[in-house]
Symmetry: C2
Subunit: 491 residues, 2 copies
Amino acid sequence: MAKEITTRGENYSQWYNDLVIKADLAENSAVRGSMVIKPYGYAIWEKMQAALDKMFKDTGHVNAYFPLFIPKSFFSKEAKHVEGFAKECAVVTHYRLKNAEDGSGIVVDETAKLEEELIVRPTSETIIWNTYKNWIHSYRDLPLLVNQWANVVRWEMRTRLFLRTAEFLWQEGHTAHATKEEAQEEALRMLDVYVDFAENFLAIPVIKGDKTENERFAGAENTYTFEALMQDGKALQTGTSHFLGQNFAKAFDVTYTSKEGKEEYVWATSWGVTTRMIGALIMSHSDDNGLVLPPKIAPTHVVIVPIYKNPEQLEQISLKANEIKKQLEAKGLTVKYDNRDTHKPGWKFAEYELKGIPVRLAIGPRDLENGTIEVARRDTLEKSVQEINSIADHVVGLLDAIQQNIFNKALKFREANTHKTDSWDEFKEILANKGGFVLAHWDGTTETELKIKEETKATIRCIPFGSVPEDGKCIFSGKPSKQRVLFAVAY
Amino acid sequence: MAKEITTRGENYSQWYNDLVIKADLAENSAVRGSMVIKPYGYAIWEKMQAALDKMFKDTGHVNAYFPLFIPKSFFSKEAKHVEGFAKECAVVTHYRLKNAEDGSGIVVDETAKLEEELIVRPTSETIIWNTYKNWIHSYRDLPLLVNQWANVVRWEMRTRLFLRTAEFLWQEGHTAHATKEEAQEEALRMLDVYVDFAENFLAIPVIKGDKTENERFAGAENTYTFEALMQDGKALQTGTSHFLGQNFAKAFDVTYTSKEGKEEYVWATSWGVTTRMIGALIMSHSDDNGLVLPPKIAPTHVVIVPIYKNPEQLEQISLKANEIKKQLEAKGLTVKYDNRDTHKPGWKFAEYELKGIPVRLAIGPRDLENGTIEVARRDTLEKSVQEINSIADHVVGLLDAIQQNIFNKALKFREANTHKTDSWDEFKEILANKGGFVLAHWDGTTETELKIKEETKATIRCIPFGSVPEDGKCIFSGKPSKQRVLFAVAY
């Protein structure tokens, strides 16, 4: 192996960290809780951004950019919002440094203190709704469908690369509507866009539903979520879409004149996904050899490795390899030909397994004679020998099959790890020993929800959409319940 | 007119502000010195990003992301760097807010004070070179060709939309090389990429050259610049590329083992362009009717406006208009068909002139009968009647002509406003009354440079590349000089 990683069986958490570091995705920085996203990790983010940005634009949204800093007073305007974010924010208090008078270095210049402190945005509802006040006057100005790609800061105490960092990258959609119905439709439309992206690009099957009141976004009337199950049986919330009602419109006094000439408050949504998705991607599909990337999100689809004993052989192989590279590129694929003479083929094989390149082609002198080529797929590690003449078509078909297989495998895993129980003992036993999703009855109160969390660490991930109404008794309190909800221990 | 703007003749500065606001490009935010980039302004930035990002990748660069925050102590490590940036930076001192005990609102929680203050990045050399220390060990790790798209903050006291804002968006390239020659080549290569972009995408002719020592980036051994002339005769620095020598490698102790087994300090470059380019774009080409956008950077290339008296006419026109739209889109163009019945054609014409859409097509019932269509080009405001059957080809050719014409016009303006003088009185007279670039002799000292600035407000924009050596006397001191340098009053 090029670089050893801990196996999942030994220590899942260490396996994840090893993988992130050794596959060159990200690393911790000198700033507590902030990561450096390395070029390979960032290339995955760029693929995610490109696919999502297109989906946002196809559904009528435009991008804009709002300030990084939010005046402190803005936070006070929406009561729940400030409660949710005040405890974890970076505060700018000064705007100048100076040389210390005792020559000991540079210090904050106390004469350059801000009159009002600025908060580094943890999310932008407040600054955006303060701006929308001037953009919205009439029903003709609605709907306003805006998205922002940005960095945000939440002062998390316990951080993990991609999953929970003080600074992260994300997109945040902020839309304004004339009616409640339109805003609710928008929040659900964007949830569906996310689900489509998660399942068809990331190959991660997700369960969508409502968050309970306790798990809602600070300032939302309703939060829609989509939840995925990781290989260690823990859930991961991949993104959320919020119906904000008129809360922010009222906090920032944003009204519009309706067709009928009446002054009304505007209805709002917001929705976001973050670099956390890279963590979800890793934990859903990867194995003890390294990353497994779905082809639709892999920065490089195919790597070609030459097998040779002398420069003459390499020269001949390179001719053929470059020809194949061109054929594949003509099909819209990204291809790397690794002809470095500083590393052996075995080292390269391990390296590209670690990096999760979906398809590896190997070609040697014997192949040239026979008109064949060795094809290895990353997801199953299966190898086969193919005709060199039809290799481009073969690879295109194989990439589709890999994308589908990765999704199917994750779906199968989720199905095998989704339990239904009506017994509190079994509920505890599943969560303690097996993990996974547990569908159980709940009495609908925050009190019970919190007690269950206290005893099992499990939270209600969502109240799944479209589940069949079913009379039952709350798993914890025994009180009547009309529907099962989805429990899990979560990241 | 849809929205009145001040003319350039009346008040150039007011014209600029009016245009930015009324064409919906950007506006001031509630945060002092920070702007909101509105969707139309951001769409222009996205076009710039896409073109530049491709050029960076074509020259072998990859993107990554480094932390927003920089520990204060990092700044002290490169002496000139801290001197250049300490006076204008936002400082994070706390990480929590709380409810005031007297119930007056939320206040900074003094118990959550950071041990070491964090600076919101004004530029990322320090945090990046601190990271590179762990990435670079051997000559095999070089060159390292990394770019970052990010927001940065410099606490400017006097701000103007796009031209000078406390927060702005930019890209910053940071490369590491084994030799001085390679690093110098890289700095010049990226300068050429920028010049290519400025001239062939933004249609802004630029003069490239060295900055004087006094105008260099804080921490650079050499700064290369490209300078453009705005319509009011002031210069605008559009971007810079720096050869950083071994300054940051030494400050952060970044060494590599050479092929010969020797431990050597790494050589560096950095280079960046910002949302300021949008300001340059506006001030180079726009007129009293609004924006003039070069087709290669215009978010929308063509707008089609129907001219009709009743719904039946609109229906017929729409059939044809949508057909034309498809034909144009098949040629890779972005087209808007504005069939809103809430606004008259005259209003729409003025609106799209204001927004700088390069080509406007108008089509009415008479056109349908005659197989014709009216074509208006934004740059010259000329109208012509064209055959409807060949309109797609006509528009493609016209867009090329517009791109070229906008560049030629700006070049002609610059040539007409570039003066050469050997007389101090004339030098002052030109700068006071005409403005523009002035090529004059300079004795090479910072002392003279600063005195000239004091008396005329003009700075040395650059020492142009490839200028013919010429013996002369410094315009100010009369001391001997070997070359003319480029003076102007600058933004």
